[in-house]
């Protein structure tokens, strides 16, 4: 490989690093390093109490403000439901026969969109990362589409797909695709050239190189992309459901607003938060199981 090619590769990698962090900033969900994660859980009881008190203060203020219909000029609590109203509303929804289909519909859409995005993102990412020819062929249209947020696709998606179900899945797909794609390309580009040279020296052919070196080498980056993508697909889904849905958590939230069942709005929001975070955490845990070597202290480069 010539030196020119090497430096080109490097600058491409830097570009992608930038864009990958762009994607992170867009969704507001950063993927913290593992060590940070661990530190966050290993806290002293004293700090835990402080944190619990903070939570209690927050909820109490919310209760107080809603109960007294506080008007702070810039923000008003006049129509905001209090926690004491939200809890019974939550209980009601949990007991209603519709809850299953709301959650089920949303989960189905997210997973259909997310998994097709994962498949497409990883495949395209590997191709772009490995072959300059594929990069030249595929990157221009993808680069054009990349800055368009998934949500902006809603009107066009409704026109493009005869079924609103498909259009919502498509929007979820678009939301997850780019974080996954970019992180895959970044991961593939970041693989030490000496490792691929070694694998070839040890007798690996093209296909074996992909499955034995490129894919596992890019895996940590891919897992990060999947976890960011999961966050964006929930974000896109909820918005899409508000506009095109029939069932689903986003639809439920919006419907509650239209029917002036304000407490139910907050219930919907809580569901969105719990499921969005839950699936991201679940995904990261599963991903971590796939890359046990990456969890060992000192496994990542400084």
């Amino acid at each position: 490989m010539s030196n020119v090619y090497m430096s080109q590769e490097r600058s491409q990698e830097r570009d992608l690093k930038l864009t990958a962090s762009d994607a992170t900033a867009e969704t507001g969900s950063t993927a913290p390093g593992k060590s940070e994660n661990r530190r966050r859980w290993r806290i002293s009881p004293g700090r835990l109490i402080v944190r619990l008190i903070s939570l209690v203060i927050f909820v109490s203020f919310w209760q107080f403000a809603a109960e007294h219909r506080l008007n702070l000029a810039l923000i008003t609590f006049q129509s905001i439901p209090a926690p004491s109203e939200v809890l019974p509303a939550l209980w009601n929804l949990l007991q209603s026969p519709k809850v299953g289909s709301h959650i089920g519909n949303s989960l189905y859409r997210v997973f259909a969109g997310f998994f097709s995005a994962a498949l497409a993102g990883i495949l395209l990412g590997m191709m772009i990362g490995r072959s300059r020819w594929a990069a030249d062929l595929l990157q221009p249209p993808l680069e054009m589409l990349r800055p368009i947020p998934g949500v902006a696709w809603i009107p066009l998606a409704i026109l493009m797909f005869p079924s609103s179900e498909l259009s919502m899945i498509f929007i979820t797909f678009m939301g997850a695709l780019f974080p996954i794609l970019l992180n895959t390309v970044h991961g593939v580009g970041g693989i030490d050239a000496r490792l691929t040279a070694t694998a070839r020296s040890l007798g690996a052919g093209r296909l074996r190189l992909l499955t034995e070196v490129i894919l596992p080498g890019a895996a940590p980056s891919i897992v990060t992309g999947l976890s960011i993508g999961m966050g964006t697909s929930w974000f896109c889904l909820v918005t899409a459901e508000m506009i095109a849905g029939q069932y689903g958590i986003g639809y439920y939230t919006w419907e509650s607003y239209n029917l002036q069942r304000y407490a139910d709005i907050v219930v919907g929001m809580l569901f969105i938060g719990v499921f969005g975070m839950g699936s991201s955490v679940l995904l990261r845990k599963c991903g971590d199981l796939l890359i046990p070597w990456y969890q060992i202290k000192g496994a990542r480069k400084p």
């Binding site: 490989m1 010539s2 694998a199 070839r200 040890l202 052919g205 074996r208 034995e212 596992p216 070597w293």
Partner: protein, 278 residues
């Protein structure tokens, strides 16, 4: 592990150019040598003299500009598992456990898990790493990582073992242990070894024959046969004969340094490109 195929290397008028366009320069100039099968050769020379480049060509990673390089009469074109390569910095796969790193070559040949693990464990025992099979590379020390690296290359029963300053990054104590280990392993597996180093003691301790290289463009300046008996140990490195050879080498290197003084920029270039040959 006993019946190695031959491993006779022949270089005839080999020249290698590195760098693109304007930066193009001749790193190796009309080098010829013969290495008998089962011989332990050290390429000794100052940094940037092209010894790594020559090794890269033997590995099949660097193309020749002129001349011809053969292994057992067949021209060397591209990398192959019959020429195992060990670098200064380990290139173990961080996602594979030690045993799977060692067994990698066998996996590529389609050998079943049980058998390849059995053979990997055998080799790990040979390099003194029994009990570390299920560790990941990052959990090992630098010396251990190089042991795994050597085991991984040897499992392919290569005709030639190419080593590019494999112990250069280790501390002096570990390096000494590893040099002795390498000779022990080599006593078991009599493959041809081409070992690149800039450490005179290392070369004289290990080799049957030392090829001393000169600077810019790289040429073979001197060939020293090391007459010591095998099963070398501390007696050898403290013997008069060793000291004598070392003095000769130092003289050569000093002269080389004086001659190569004007060519420093070019030698820096050579170093830079030799590092980026893959």
């Amino acid at each position: 592990m006993s019946e190695m195929q031959s491993g006779h290397i022949e270089a005839r008028e080999v020249s290698i150019d590195l760098g693109n366009g304007k930066e193009n320069f001749r790193a190796i100039d009309r080098v010829s040598f013969n290495i008998a099968s089962g011989e332990f050769i050290c390429l000794l020379g100052p940094s940037g003299c092209g010894k790594s480049t020559l090794l890269g060509a033997l590995a099949g990673h660097i193309p020749l500009a002129e001349g011809c390089l053969t292994l057992d009469g067949k021209a060397i074109i591209g990398p192959s598992s019959e020429r195992g390569l060990v670098f200064q910095q380990h290139t173990l796969f961080p996602w594979k456990k030690v045993v799977d790193n060692v067994a990698f070559g066998l996996k590529m040949k389609g050998i079943a898990t049980r058998e390849r693990h059995a053979r990997a464990n055998e080799l790990l025992k040979l390099v003194g790493l029994s009990g570390f099979e299920n560790k990941y590379p990052v959990q090992l020390s630098g010396g251990m990582q190089q042991r795994v690296e050597i085991a991984r290359v040897l499992i392919n029963q290569p005709r030639v073992l190419l080593m590019d300053e494999p112990f250069g990054a280790l501390d002096a104590q570990t390096r000494w242990v590893m040099q002795q280990l390498l000779l022990q392993v080599w006593a078991h597996i009599r493959t041809t070894v081409v070992f690149v180093t800039h450490d005179i003691d290392e070369a004289i301790f290990l080799a049957d024959r030392v090829l001393v290289m000169s600077h810019c463009p790289g040429r073979i300046r001197e060939e020293m046969v090391i007459p010591a008996e095998r099963a070398r140990g501390e007696q050898w490195v403290t013997s008069d004969a060793f000291m004598h050879l070392k003095r000769d080498c130092l003289d050569l290197m000093r002269e080389e340094h004086r001659l190569g003084h004007g060519a420093e920029t070019a030698s820096e270039l050579a170093q830079q490109f030799a590092g980026a040959f893959i």
